[in-house]
């Protein structure tokens, strides 16, 4: 059994601006990239001081953490060198105009 959570309507997602969703205890950010894909990561920076990611600047498949400027991959959640860390990535399914978050 797969839990599917319908998160948003695809057309309502602005390009290159993170959208925050609360799902249970998780706070998830959805990014619609320039290439049309939708990526979802936890809204929490792995920087030791923490911070959110939704307001970061989006470039291609990366987001720059708004507080400490770490460059984070939206594909695998890896923080790019010289910094190190990992952000949780959530699988996303887009069908027609619906964006689902798979649990």
């Amino acid at each position: 059994m797969v839990n599917k959570i319908m998160i948003a309507e695809y057309h309502s997602l602005p390009v290159r601006a993170g959208q925050v969703f609360k799902a249970g205890n998780e706070e998830i950010v959805l990014f619609r990239l320039t290439n049309g894909e939708v990526r979802a990561i936890e809204n929490h920076s792995p920087h030791p001081k923490g911070g959110t990611l939704a307001e970061g600047l989006v470039s291609g498949e990366y987001v720059f953490c708004p507080v400490y400027d770490w460059k984070i991959s939206l594909v695998d959640g890896k923080v790019q060198a010289p910094d190190q860390g990992q952000v949780k990535v959530f699988p996303i399914e887009v069908s027609e105009d619906h964006v689902y978050f798979m649990l």
Binding site: I7, R16, K22, A23, L57, S59, P66, V67, K71
Partner: protein, 808 residues
């Protein structure tokens, strides 16, 4: 093969570097356990002085974060010390009672500050300068106390003193001898250094022997042998370091000053090694990073079962990490009968260079004021090159006719570029070629060069130029906007005009950006330059702005925001105060605070409440977050103050109303004082006005931040209109010529005050500058109101949604 158990006591730079080298050579050979008595992963101890000096934070100097240990399978115990090594049973026992077996054990316990055994040295406020804890103590002390005394005028003492100055303390440096850094500098260079540091604000008490620390619970002063005293709220002992050998001693390992090791870092006990500052090799104990890394390399190879070249000891060079001071020293310092010296001393430029030659080989180097040749000279010294056939000029150039790259070209491949990490020219050049590296950062990531003290970065840049030739030369001479492009600010601005580029994406696309959508450095910069060039027609690219400007509020570290309404000139009224109070109450704002710029800030507001808060405040944004005019601070002035000669509030309000919301390369702060008592601190503002009998003196380029700078007198004005006219022209000239993120203080120093005065002296120039300024100002609208009125903006930036579950 089953893994052997490797245990390391100590979690510092030497030990961890040994493990890094070992993991490269034999990743699967050991189960590694590390004990560190500090609560942190491995950090860059050399950079503590930059933390203290405010240039970086503790987080930034972590070299191996927790993930590194985890991903390399290393078990790390922090905050836990080893009390004894049982070398018979091959076990260690920690202060928590933990017992762990080992096959091989490395002692890398480093060293600690030598605390002079003076009466009173146990009082509060006496510290060494060795670790993060010391650093934090000093930062804390600087917040509530004024006067610091540093005992010791050596490398560490002077770096600590500079840090304490930056923290706003008055600093005395006490030194036993007549010359500072006498182990690294000769008297001439030492005096030059003392002069520079005195000018930076250090007070020197030379030839003073400390005998007693005064005070009850906390230190209040220091007494010297000659009977004199000096007051002190904080005493930093920086007279030297002492290897941590206690553990080795109680465990029956041979110790003199340090733990005695042979050429493979083995102690007298089998399977126990020592590396770093705690080790003593051929009667030498090293306190600089380069030798420790060299030792680590040998030990790692030895543990990996590869027979390395034996460690032969190290020749080291020293630099002082204090801004405004360029010095380098290695080997012998003072001339004697067996040496010949080549000297250059240019008192006018503050440059002094001395190379000592013994038996036709360089035996010592002292450079002050210009250290570009340090790498080349050090290389010649290390290799014991015969210099008898060189002329004195070619050994030591006068420093007048430098062209970039000339030094690195003459270096041989095994000459060291990065002394800290032991990276040679050959290694760097090979890495540049093999991996197509084009920036200093890339070279650092690939080779570690430049990643410890950072002083060799200019040489790495020269090497890039030398290796890549024209490809790099062009960009080496200029500062590119960021790694996405080879173009400089001026070139991009010229292209925008020439090709009539109108959007950020278009600029990146047409000018061949490496990353199609840029990065967090270039996007905000391009957005600014486009807005500056296209004045009234530019449509701002909100998503190319960084968080605060995008959200029109300051983000705090927990993801909440600060709301700071506009209060022109710092003047408010009962109605606004009531509204602020009501909002603070209704939204349970955690902190209401008066800011340094005379405004009221509401701290800790969730982003989804921002539009509602703004609506209820019904006041314009105070732009406390932007690269724009922040606040105009004013004193009460002639309206109420008996000393006031000018209506400072009046002018302040006019300035703030005129220039609010304007995009500038960096933030701009202003101040207006009604008289020279200067209650509005106009002397340290980007633009400050000081009232005098017949008008205002206008000061520019002041700065109250990390680099404190007093403003320079730009001109005198007699009326408010004139004040606005000069301000408009000056600001516009700054907007048109500064690099993005260049504060006016830096810009002014780069452009030169006289040049700016010359430009602005011409009335016609001022008029056209103001014309462009006024045109730009028409473009702005109130951003909070815009968010309140525009549903799309609210939805895009200020909404948090609940996800809706569908179970299948």
């Amino acid at each position: 093969m089953e893994r052997k158990k490797l245990l390391m006591i100590g979690n510092g730079m030497a030990g961890i570097r040994t493990l890094e080298e070992l993991l490269k050579l034999a990743p699967d050979m050991y189960h590694i356990t590390v004990f560190g008595s500090e609560p942190y992963p491995n950090y860059n101890r050399i950079q503590l002085s930059t933390v203290l000096q405010g240039d970086t934070t503790i987080e930034d100097i972590i070299m191996n974060d927790w993930d590194w240990y985890q991903s390399n399978g290393i078990k790390l115990y922090t905050n836990e010390s080893i009390e004894k090594i049982d070398t018979e049973k091959k076990q260690v026992i920690s202060d928590n009672g933990r017992v762990i077996d080992y096959d091989e054990c490395i002692i890398a316990t480093g060293s600690r500050s030598f605390i002079l055994p003076l009466p009173g040295s146990d009082k509060k406020g006496v510290t060494g300068f060795r670790d993060i804890h010391d650093c934090e103590e000093m930062i804390k002390a600087a917040k509530s106390y004024k006067k610091a005394v540093v005992i010791g005028g050596g490398l560490l003492g002077l770096e600590a003193a500079r840090g304490l100055l930056n923290l706003g303390m008055e600093v005395d440096v006490v030194h036993l001898l007549p010359y500072l850094m006498e182990r690294q500098l000769d008297p001439t260079a030492s005096k030059m250094l003392q002069k520079e540091l005195s000018a930076q604000g250090m007070n020197f008490l030379m030839e003073k022997e400390s005998v007693e620390i005064l005070g009850d619970d906390r230190v209040t002063g220091l007494r010297f042998k000659d009977g004199s005293e000096t007051a002190a709220d904080l005493i930093v002992m920086a007279v030297g370091i002492k290897p941590n050998v206690g553990l080795a001693k109680v465990s029956g390992i041979a110790v003199k000053r340090g733990i005695i090791v042979n050429d493979f870092l083995e102690t007298n006990i089998e399977n126990v090694y020592a590396v770093g500052e705690c080790a003593e090799h051929r009667d030498m104990v090293y306190g600089l990073v380069a030798p420790l890394y060299e030792q680590g390399k040998v030990l790692a190879a030895f543990l990996a079962g590869k027979m390395p070249e034996p460690y032969q000891g190290s020749v080291t060079g020293t630099q002082l990490k204090v801004s405004g001071v360029d010095m380098y020293s290695a080997g012998d310092i003072n001339d004697d009968d067996t040496t010949m010296a080549i000297k250059v001393h240019n008192e006018f430029n503050g440059v002094y260079k001395k190379v000592l030659i013994r038996n036709n080989q360089i035996s010592g180097i002292v450079l002050y004021g210009d250290t570009k040749e340090s790498g080349r000279l050090f290389g010649m010294m290390k290799k014991e090159e015969d210099v008898s056939r060189l002329t004195s000029i070619s050994i030591l150039s006068s420093g007048c006719d430098h062209n970039a790259g000339s030094d690195v070209a003459t270096m041989s491949d095994d000459d060291l570029v990065c002394g800290c990490n032991g990276v040679s020219k050959g290694t760097i050049v090979a890495a540049i070629k093999e991996n197509n590296l084009t920036t200093i950062d890339e070279v650092g990531n690939c080779t570690n060069a430049g990643r410890s003290c950072g002083r060799c970065k200019s040489m790495i840049s020269d090497l890039l130029a030398y290796t890549l030739g024209d490809e790099y030369d062009q960009s080496a001479e200029k500062e590119t906007i960021c790694g996405c492009t080879q173009l400089s600010r001026d070139e991009v601005a010229a292209e925008i005009k020439a090709k009539s580029l109108t959007t950020v994406m278009e600029v990146m696309n047409v000018l061949g950006w490496k990353n199609e959508e840029g990065c967090s450095k270039c996007r905000p910069a391009l957005n600014y330059y486009l807005g500056m060039i296209h004045m009234d027609q530019y449509k701002d690219d909100r998503d190319s702005r960084l968080v605060n400007e995008k959200m029109h509020a300051n983000i705090q570290k927990d993801g909440t925001y600060t709301v700071l309404p506009r209060m022109y000139g710092g003047v408010t009224n009962a109605k606004d105060l009531k509204k602020i109070a009501e909002v603070a109450e209704k939204y349970q704002v955690p902190l209401v605070k008066l800011t340094g710029g005379q405004r009221i800030g509401l701290f800790g507001i969730q982003k989804e409440y921002l539009p509602a808060v703004w609506e209820e405040l019904d006041m314009p944004s105070g732009y406390a977050y932007g690269k724009t005019l922040r606040t105009v601070k004013t004193c009460v002035g002639a309206q109420y103050c008996r000393y006031g000669t000018q209506d400072s509030m009046g002018l302040g309000i006019k300035l703030e109303q005129k220039f609010e919301r304007l995009d500038t390369p960096h933030k701009v702060k202003m101040g207006v004082s009604g008289c020279p008592r200067n209650c509005a601190e106009a002397g340290i503002k980007d633009i400050g006005f000081t009232g005098v009998d017949d008008g205002y003196e206008v000061y520019v380029g002041g700065n109250g931040g990390t680099d404190l700078r007093l403003g320079d007198l730009l001109c005198k004005v007699t009326t408010d209109e004139e004040a606005l006219e000069w301000t408009g022209a000056y600001l516009q000239y700054y907007r048109e010529t500064a690099f993005y993120l260049e504060r006016t203080s830096k810009w002014l120093e780069r452009m030169d005050l006289e040049h700016i005065q010359e430009v602005l002296a011409d009335e016609e120039t001022r008029r056209t500058l103001n014309e462009r300024m006024d045109k730009t100002l028409t473009r702005y609208s109130e951003p909070w109101q815009e968010a309140i009125n525009n549903q799309d903006i609210r939805r895009k930036y200020y909404t948090v949604r609940e996800a809706e579950p569908i179970l299948k």
